[in-house]
Symmetry: C2
């Protein structure tokens, strides 16, 4: 169990991570903070920016993670899944805030960068 | 200049920190993430929760920081000021995310805990 955040759930399948609604709630706050930091770096001044659900959903598909969710899952739930995965990897110390921010700044656009971040998270949590 | 976040402004007075609207924008994302982590610890499961502006404004007054802002400053701007100070201290490595979360969990209520966090931030950035 993670020492820093003992409330972090431990899941044994990727689908369980992606469909954890509690994780998605915290993941929303996490993702917006990481995205705001990345945008601040880009603009060379502090700023706050919310990530649109459609972008998260598209990034999840691009990262080839769509198949781990039921076929009828809607865009909102796909975005939740992405947020859940990102914060799960962070809570379990598989990625730092700093690396997440740096990864988000790379890629030719936000969807590509998010897809890369999701792939990194997925690979490191070692669940299938 | 902070190595990790070179976009972080360097201010020479506390009033300049408290009235920096760019900082307040990033501070909003920071504060909601910290508060969500503290609430998650309290509930023993991940959750997301937004801090109400009125609570932040009251905490700023309780921390005796009201006097550093113009007398006509409204509640919204007081909340912005609190968020700006909290993220400024974090960006400049005066407080960690972990310590912020722990501090927020203490105190007999959210306003008291926030006031303590603001006081810690103010003391450590060493500006008046």
């Amino acid at each position: 169990m993670p020492k820093k955040y003992p409330f972090a759930p431990i899941h044994h399948t990727l689908t369980n991570v992606l469909t954890d609604h509690n994780l998605a709630q915290l993941g929303d706050a996490y993702t917006n903070f990481v995205y705001s930091l990345a945008e601040s770096s880009l603009k060379h001044k502090p700023t706050g920016k919310k990530l649109k659900g459609a972008l998260l959903a598209q990034a999840l598909k691009k990262a080839n993670l769509r198949k781990h969710l039921p076929s009828r899952t809607n865009t909102h739930a796909l975005a939740d899944a992405a947020e859940a995965l990102l914060v799960y990897a962070w809570l379990h110390d598989h990625i730092t805030l700093q690396e997440s921010v740096t990864t988000l700044q790379k890629g030719k656009n936000t969807i590509e960068a998010l897809a890369q971040l999701l792939t990194t998270a997925k690979d490191r949590i070692k669940l299938s």
